[in-house]
Structure formats: structure tokens, C-alpha cells
Amino acid sequence: MTTTTRPSLWEYANPVKFMRLTDWLLPLVGWAAAALVLVGLVWGFFFTPDDFRQGSTVKIIFLHVPSALMAINAWIMMLAASLVWLIRRHHVSALAARAAGPVGAVMTLIALFTGAVWGQPMWGTWWAWDPRLTSFLILFLFYLGYIALWSAIEDPDTAADLTAVLCIVGSVFAVLSRYAAIFWNQGLHQGASLSVAPGTRMDWAYKAPLYVAMTGFGLLFLALVLAGTRTEIRARRMSALMTRERMQA
């Protein structure tokens, strides 16, 4: 029987197909990411004017905003991958969620650190309990817990199941925490100034390199997750082979 297979996204949930695809995709994404991050950051650091209010600290935005966005995106990706794993049980998606954990955690750390360094000249303090900062800190804790749970459980499928449940429940509570934090304290932090709403506040001199850096960080995130997923797939294949080896003995 010949079935006309419509190519579907799920096919890439097959590890072999995934490896074959990423064999050529990963270097592409990796180099593109490196190039864009480099261009964005060099442009931002060397070739942007000082802001009349913030002085040269405005240059921090090219690190801060992209990493903050990626920190959130990584969690959303983990949530989606966890749902896919729970519903369709594609191993690749569980492993991708696992690979995204450390990347998201480091992105969160960068956002926190650059924000703190920025806060010192702007608000006169390294840290303030502003709602956005607070919810970011909580997000960081979620990442730590998620990574710790992955590494604490021996059996990979059990770990995938439990971390997926944690990710889903955690997401609900992350949203709740955000509302709680807003309710609790009105905050100093900038609003979303990149919004397409009328009255855009940012000059193109900053916006252009920011967009470049954001795209670069996005690609970097993608590349790291792809590379991490490949490693996790290999690690699982290795443990499967070693199992067989032991059974033959």
C-alpha cells in the first residue's frame, strides 16, 4: 500500500529525521546567530549615541532586552514541548525541553545582571522589588527547580513526565505571581517601549541595532537548543546501546 504522505511537522519528532535535518540546519543557524549577535552588539556598543538622560548606559539595552525576551521565550517553548510530550509522547520534544532549561536560565541570569547593573546609575540601587524584576527572579527560581528536577531523576522517561507536569503547573503559577507582583508594588521599570502603539518613544538609532541583536539572540537560542537536543538524543542512544551491550553479556 502506498500512502501519499503529506509532510507533517510531527515527522521531525522522529530522532533520525531530526538529526538529519539539524545536521545541516544547526551550522547555518549557529553562524547566522553568531554573526547577528556580533553585529548587533558591536553596533550597539560602538556606534550608538549616548542618550540625553541615561548617558552611555543606554547601551546596556542591547544585551538586556534580547536576553529578557529569550528568557521568556525559552519558558514558553518548554511549556509547548512539555505539552507535546505529555500528549503525543515524542521523545525529541521532551529532550528539547530539557535542552532549553539551562539556556533559559542563563538568559534570565543575563537579564537580571544587566538590569541590576543598569539600575545602579538609573535608580540608585542594584535591586528594587519592582514587579517585573520580581517576576523575573521567580522565573529564575522556576528554571533552577526545573533543571534540578531533571537531574535528580534517574529514569529519563520518568524525568520527562515529572518535569513536564512541573512546567505546566509552574507556568500557571508564574502568571499568577506576575499579577501578584503587580498588585503588590507599582514599580519603576520601563514599560514596553517597542510596542507598535502610536507614539513610539525610541529613536531608530537605537531601534535598528536592537532589532539586530534581538534576532541574533533568537537565533542563538535556537542554535543552542538544537545543539542541546542533539546531545540529549545522542546520550539516550548511548544509554540504549549500553543497555543492549549489557544484555548481551
Binding site: 521567580i138 528536577l149 535528580a152 520518568t158 515529572l162 507536569v165 503559577f173 499568577l176 498588585f183
Partner: protein, 218 residues
């Protein structure tokens, strides 16, 4: 189900069972904080609502770390999973037993500790009310965390790490209600939100917890 509840309560009351120890921890925290922070009444009154809520939260946390672990170690959990009651029910009952042995005593003791921390007069009612509404959520969320980490040796601290971020909204609304009450501001909104969190987690989390338990048993 009733049998499970009475057994858990009985186990808690027997020697070494942990009844009253959550309470003792709460008391000791309320004593330690003034020792660490210094005796100034004004400062204490400012931080009292927050510290009391943090204390209640930690007391819950510490006492739930073995909610399922003991049953797991001695094999009871395997047997409960094959018994003719749904695992969701087991989780709900265990959370209820935990609340009765830990949360409820905390609610009753909180006003006394409020005195130690120099809590302003109008806040006492709000303190009791907010704890009454909020501590059940702490037990249910804790049951979820305990179910996630049940198979692990020394899962206790990992569980703290997983559970504490989940406790944040409850803590914020609870402490906010008390401190608004203390200042004579209207505190109904945070209390309502607190009640919402409790209702939501009591309705949904037992399912997630039972799922996690089933995974951990295999």
C-alpha cells in the same frame, strides 16, 4: 477515604508524628526574628504581617516534606495505589490531613505570635482570616510538590525549591491583606484573590499530584 484520614491524623498525633511541630517551628521563627532583627517595636510592627506569613509558609513546607515519602518507603503507597480508592482522593485526603494537623493549628496560634512581633491591633482579625483562607492552598500545593519528589532520597530540599515559587502568589496576597488591614485600608481584594487561589488549587492540583505519583511509582 475516612479511614485514610483518621489513620493520617492518628499517625500525626502519635509520638514523633509531627503534630504540633509545625506549630513549634512557627513559634520559634517568631522568636528568632526579633533576636536577629533587634527589639525595636516600630520595626517589628512594620514587618510582622510579612514575617508571620513567611513563618506559616515555612512551617507548612517543613512538615509536608514527608507527606508521601513515609508511605513510599514502607510500601504503603504501592498498596494504596492498588486499593479501590482513586489516587486523586488519596492526595486530597492527605492534603486535608496535613492542613488539619499543620495549617489549622497555625491559624489558631498566629494571634499569639502576633503579640510577640508587635502586630498592630486592627490586623489580628485579618491575620486569622487570611491564614484561614490561605493555608489550605499551601497544603494542596505542597502535596503536589511532595508527589513530584516522592521517590528521591533527601527529596525534602528539592521539594522546597520546587514548591516555594509556587507559594509566592499565596504569600503576596496573604501578607498584603494583613498589612492593609493593619493600616486600616480595605483588604477585601487580596482576600478574594487568596480564596480564588485556594479554590483553584484545591480543585485542580490533586489531579496533577496523582499523575505525578503514578509516574513515580512505576
Amino acid at each position: 477515604m475516612i479511614a485514610l484520614l483518621t489513620r493520617d491524623l492518628r499517625l500525626a498525633i502519635r509520638a514523633g508524628g509531627g503534630f504540633g511541630l509545625g506549630l513549634a517551628f512557627f513559634l520559634i521563627l517568631a522568636v528568632l526574628v526579633p533576636l536577629g532583627v533587634g527589639p525595636e517595636g516600630r520595626v517589628l510592627a512594620l514587618i510582622a504581617p510579612g514575617i508571620l506569613w513567611v513563618g506559616a509558609l515555612l512551617a507548612c513546607l517543613l512538615s509536608l516534606d514527608r507527606m508521601f515519602a513515609l508511605d513510599f518507603e514502607d510500601g504503603s503507597l504501592d498498596l494504596l495505589a492498588t486499593a479501590p480508592i482513586p489516587l486523586e482522593g488519596v492526595v486530597a485526603i492527605k492534603a486535608l490531613a496535613h492542613w488539619l494537623t499543620t495549617g489549622l493549628p497555625l491559624v489558631l496560634a498566629a494571634p499569639v505570635l502576633g503579640i510577640l512581633l508587635n502586630l498592630p491591633g486592627p490586623a489580628y482579625g485579618w491575620l486569622v482570616l487570611s491564614l484561614l483562607l490561605g493555608t489550605p492552598a499551601l497544603s494542596v500545593i505542597g502535596a503536589f510538590g511532595a508527589a513530584l519528589t516522592v521517590g528521591l532520597k533527601r527529596g525534602g530540599l528539592l521539594m522546597s525549591l520546587l514548591v516555594l515559587p509556587l507559594y509566592v502568589p499565596t504569600l503576596v496576597f496573604g501578607a498584603e491583606a494583613v498589612s492593609r488591614g493593619a493600616q486600616g485600608l480595605p483588604a477585601a481584594t487580596p482576600l478574594l484573590l487568596l480564596a480564588g487561589i485556594t479554590a483553584g488549587s484545591a480543585a485542580l492540583l490533586p489531579f496533577a499530584a496523582a499523575h505525578a505519583l503514578r509516574i513515580n511509582l512505576r
